[in-house]
């Protein structure tokens, strides 16, 4: 009776795991392979412009050029500019979102259900709106001399109104603010759920010992969600590198003044498709992706691995 009927199990696994593996191969493995191949071929401008309409892939005999495209990508100052922009964007939004969410979660945690639920609900709304809606709102509502940021924040503090979208120094902060506005609520919800894991007796002890706010954060709440913060950081980093929609709508597909708002994926899009610079340079675009994505993924994987121990428990 105790034999596990390996054949029957195999059929089950086939139905349970099969679709995932199948789609993984089709829409992850194959594009990766194609992309690697593409990144090693010459960008035949004339051909690709014609075939962009018809796109008969097999007839497009592009010659093998080795690492030529990677060299061109690395020689391109705008590639590095977009990478450094993306890095600043990720770093800035990460730090702001995580600290703000942590503060919000700690404050929400002490409230009664009656207050907590509606407040949390409202905080999450920006995370549910489309990034393009956030961008449009940013453009119409926040930015500009008459905009909310200048009228409600900058001018009451006694500064000169800032031209958020036209001043190269302020495009990146504008984009970071947008990302903070979008993600803080959702991350707060995750943190709040994590904070519920602090046992009641610990809070009770802390209260009886008369622990201050700071000590409670340091010894109770932060340790309770340390891993969660790491997960949120990794997720936000991936999301930040992949972010396209917000910047695309905000800057109309360009990089903004002096490329100071040019994000990595936006630049890849510009290189690959018309409407940007119209270069139609698929191979270089692929080469850019393949020189960045694996390094980022590996770095994040190592961070997870080191901090969390082996993930494959």
């Amino acid at each position: 009776m105790f034999d596990s009927k390996p054949k029957k199990n195999f059929v089950s696994f086939f139905f349970l795991l099969g679709p995932f593996l199948c789609l993984w191969v089709l829409f992850w493995m194959v594009p990766t392979g194609l992309g690697l191949d593409l990144s090693l071929r010459s960008p035949d401008l004339e051909l690709s412009q014609k075939s962009a309409i018809l796109f008969d892939y097999p007839e497009k005999q592009k010659s093998f050029v080795g690492l030529e495209n990677y060299r061109r990508a690395f020689d391109d100052p705008r590639f590095w500019k977009s990478l450094s922009n993306s890095f600043h964007y990720v770093l800035g939004s990460l730090l702001l979102i995580l600290s703000l969410s942590f503060m919000l979660a700690v404050n929400l945690q002490s409230l009664s259900r009656f207050w907590q639920t509606p407040l949390l609900f409202c905080l999450i709304i920006p995370g549910l709106a489309m990034p393009s809606v956030l961008s449009t709102l940013f453009y119409l509502f926040f930015h500009g001399k008459e905009g909310a940021l200048n009228q409600y924040l900058i001018m009451p503090l006694g500064f000169e109104p800032i031209n958020w979208m036209m001043d190269p120094d302020f495009i990146m902060p504008s984009m970071i603010m947008q990302s903070v506005w979008r993600w803080t609520g959702l991350v707060t919800m995750f943190f709040l759920c994590g904070l519920a894991g602090v046992p009641h007796w610990q809070l009770e002890v802390a209260r009886m010992e008369g622990l201050g706010m700071w000590a409670k954060i340091r010894y109770l709440w932060f340790p309770a969600i340390r891993n969660l913060i790491l997960f949120a950081a990794v997720f936000l980093a991936v999301e930040g590198i992949a972010s396209f929609s917000g910047a695309y709508v905000l800057l109309g597909g360009s990089g903004g003044i002096l490329d100071s708002g040019l994000l990595f994926i936006t630049y890849v899009y510009q290189v690959a498709f018309p409407g940007g610079s119209g270069r139609f340079d698929f191979p270089t675009a692929a080469a850019m992706c393949f020189s960045v994505a694996p390094i980022v993924a590996l770095g994040l994987y190592l961070i997870l691995r080191i901090r969390m121990g082996p993930l494959s428990r």
């Binding site: 696994f13 609900f121 409202c122 709102l137 909310a148 994926i265 694996p294 994987y301």
Partner: protein, 268 residues
Amino acid sequence: MKKFTSLLFLLLSVVIATYPFAWMFLSSFKTNDEIYQPTLFLPADYKWDAFISLFNASYLPFLRIFSNSLVLSFGQAFLATLISAGAGFCLAKYKFLGRGLVLFLAIFLVLIPKQTLAVPTFDWISWLGWRGSLFSLLLPGAVSGIGVLFFLQVFRRFPQEWIDLARIEGMSPFRTYISLLPLVLPGLMTFFFLHFVLSFQEHLLPLLLLDDENMTLPLALATLKDSSHRIPESVGMAAATLSLVPILIMFSLVFGKMKTALREVILS
């Protein structure tokens, strides 16, 4: 006093988070001149012209775009939930050859965003001849690494004894999985909702793969914003308001379940 400052901080954050959306809704009644004064909150008078022009498809076939987006996101979310739950269950409760590899694949799927594969995906889907149809976006969006990890975590909290018992009773893993599904309903709903939101917002792949007759909402909103010198801003605001409606309805339905599910996933 401390309670008061904390409440004040929270209320301020809520106002910052939501006020622009109230402004957005009211702006769908405003004229361009009124919209260009962001500090103005209430419109001078309430005309539903912007909404009517959307429904009459004066500028864009909005209803079609809207239903495109809904169908696509429902499809993606449904498939992703189905597929990820099965894979997550296997990873959580069974030891089999290649388990480590599948887990590794799922983690890397999270860490490498699909936007970086956009160019070759475009190539591949064009080669398959699916370009221009909504179907082309359905399947690539249905594979989710985060989903697999989420359900791995969801199913992990069930005692191993249950699985052993099911095996002794002669139930196949598949039957066991089906009989456990009702117990993870909050998890299923949560993931469905989150994936729905993400695919509703997806911009880059639809931009590459769909043509102008088959737009989804993010593309339509970008078009409306780009051509704002020809189309009144209020139309864009009305479209943005409408795009938020289905998500908000779903969110208020799953919100309670979502907190339960997330708490279980995080604390297990």
